[in-house]
Point group: C2
Chain length 195, copies 2
DNA sequence: GATTGAAATGAACGCACGTTCAGATACAAC
DNA sequence: GTTGTATCTGAACGTGCGTTCATTTCAATC
C-alpha cells in the first residue's frame, strides 16, 4: 500500500523537477539558484528541501531519470530483424526522443561536469549502455557484410553526434515536421553505413 | 610603433587567457572563480583586472578569439575546385582544427549561455558565418548534381554536429592518429553527400 | 471546533563570489 | 641611488549563494 502523503506534495515534487529541468537547461546548473527554482514553483527556497536533500542531488536525479527513461523507452522500441531495419528503427527512435525532450537531453549533455565523481560515473555508465545499443547494431551489420564501416567505434560516435545534434536547431512548429526530420536523418544515417 | 609595456604584462596577459581557457573548459565558466584563475597564473585575483575589465569579458574574448582564429584559419585553408574536393578539404580542416583545440572548441560550444545578449549575438554571427562555408559547398554540389542531399540545411547541421563530435572522444595519444581520424570522418562525410 | 501533522515560511548561518583600491613592490631610466 | 611607473598585493565591499530550523499555516481527521 502506498504511503499516504499530503495533497501538496503530490503536485510540488514533480513541479520542482519540471522547473529545475527547465531552468537548468536554459541557464546552466551553476547559474540557477535554489531561490529561482522555488520562485518558479511558487514557493520559498526552504521548501525545496522537503523534496530533495540538496541541489546536486536534484541535478543528478534529473539526469538519471532522463537516462533511465531513455533506456526503458529504447527497450520498448527496439526490434529484431536485419541490421538495416534495426538501424532505421534506432535512428528514428533517437531523433524523435531527442526532439521531444530537448531540455532533458540538453541537461544530460551539458551538466556532466557539475556532477560529483560517483554521480558522473553512474550517468556515464548509463550513457555508454545506450551508445552500445547502436554500436551492437553497427557491429552486426558490419559482420554480416551488410554495412561497410571505416571504424565501428568512430562511426558509432559520429552517428550519435550527428543525430543528437538535432536538438541544436530543432524548434517546435518549425519548417520541418517531426516525421520529415526523422526521414532526413535516416536517409543520412543509411548512407553513412553504405547500406 | 608598439606601445611600450612592462615585462610582466607580456607574459601575464596570455598566461591568464591560457589558464582561464583551461579552467573554463574543464569546470565551466560559472564554476571557476577569478581567484582560481589567478592562482593558476601565480598571482592574486586583483591583478587580473589589469588585463580584463571583468570575468564576462574574459570569457567573451576567449570565445571571440577562437572564432576569429577559426575563420582566419579556414580562409587560409579553403580551396577552389570541385565541390567534392572542397568538401574533403573542409572535413579534414574541421576535424584537425577541432582535435588540436579541444578546450577552445568546448568553451565556444558550452558557454554560449553565459554570454550577455550582445556578446552572444556577436559570437553566434561568427559561428553562422563558419557554418555557411560548409552550406555553400553543399549547395554548390547539390546544384551541379554532384551531391544528392535530402535537405541542404539539415545536412549542414548534421555534418557539423558529426564532425565536431570528435572532440567528445578524441584524446591525444589515443588509438587512432590524427590522419586516420581525418580519413575516417572524410569517408563518413563523403557517403553522406552520396558523392 | 479541537487535534494533528505535513507543508511552507522567513530569518538566519557561514561562506565564496566579483570587484575595487590604497598602498607596497619591483624594475627601467636617468 | 633616486625617481617614475607598471605591476601586484591584501584587505575590504556588498551581494547572493546553499542550506538549516524554529515557527506558522492549513487541510484533513476525529
Amino acid at each position: 500500500m502506498a504511503r499516504k502523503i499530503g495533497s501538496h506534495a503530490e503536485i510540488t515534487g514533480p513541479a520542482i523537477r519540471d522547473a529545475a529541468l527547465r531552468l537548468f537547461a536554459r541557464s546552466g546548473y551553476a547559474a540557477v539558484s535554489m531561490r529561482e527554482i522555488a520562485s518558479e514553483v511558487g514557493v520559498r527556497a526552504g521548501a525545496l528541501y522537503l523534496y530533495t536533500p540538496d541541489k546536486q542531488t536534484l541535478l543528478f536525479d534529473l539526469m538519471k531519470e532522463h537516462l533511465e527513461r531513455l533506456l526503458v523507452a529504447w527497450s520498448a522500441a527496439k526490434i529484431d530483424g536485419e541490421p538495416i531495419e534495426q538501424l532505421e528503427n534506432f535512428v528514428k527512435f533517437h531523433v524523435a526522443y531527442h526532439v521531444d525532450r530537448r531540455d532533458a537531453v540538453f541537461l544530460a549533455y551539458m551538466e556532466l561536469r557539475n556532477l560529483s565523481v560517483e554521480n558522473f560515473d553512474e550517468i556515464e555508465t548509463m550513457r555508454r549502455r545506450y551508445e552500445d545499443e547502436l554500436e551492437k547494431i553497427l557491429s552486426a551489420g558490419q559482420e554480416c557484410g551488410k554495412f561497410r564501416l571505416p571504424d565501428t567505434r568512430v562511426t558509432t560516435m559520429a552517428l550519435i553526434a550527428m543525430l543528437t545534434g538535432v536538438h541544436v536547431w530543432y524548434r517546435d512548429g518549425g519548417r520541418l515536421s517531426r516525421e520529415r526530420i526523422q526521414r532526413i536523418y535516416w536517409n543520412l544515417a543509411r548512407r553513412t553505413v553504405r547500406a
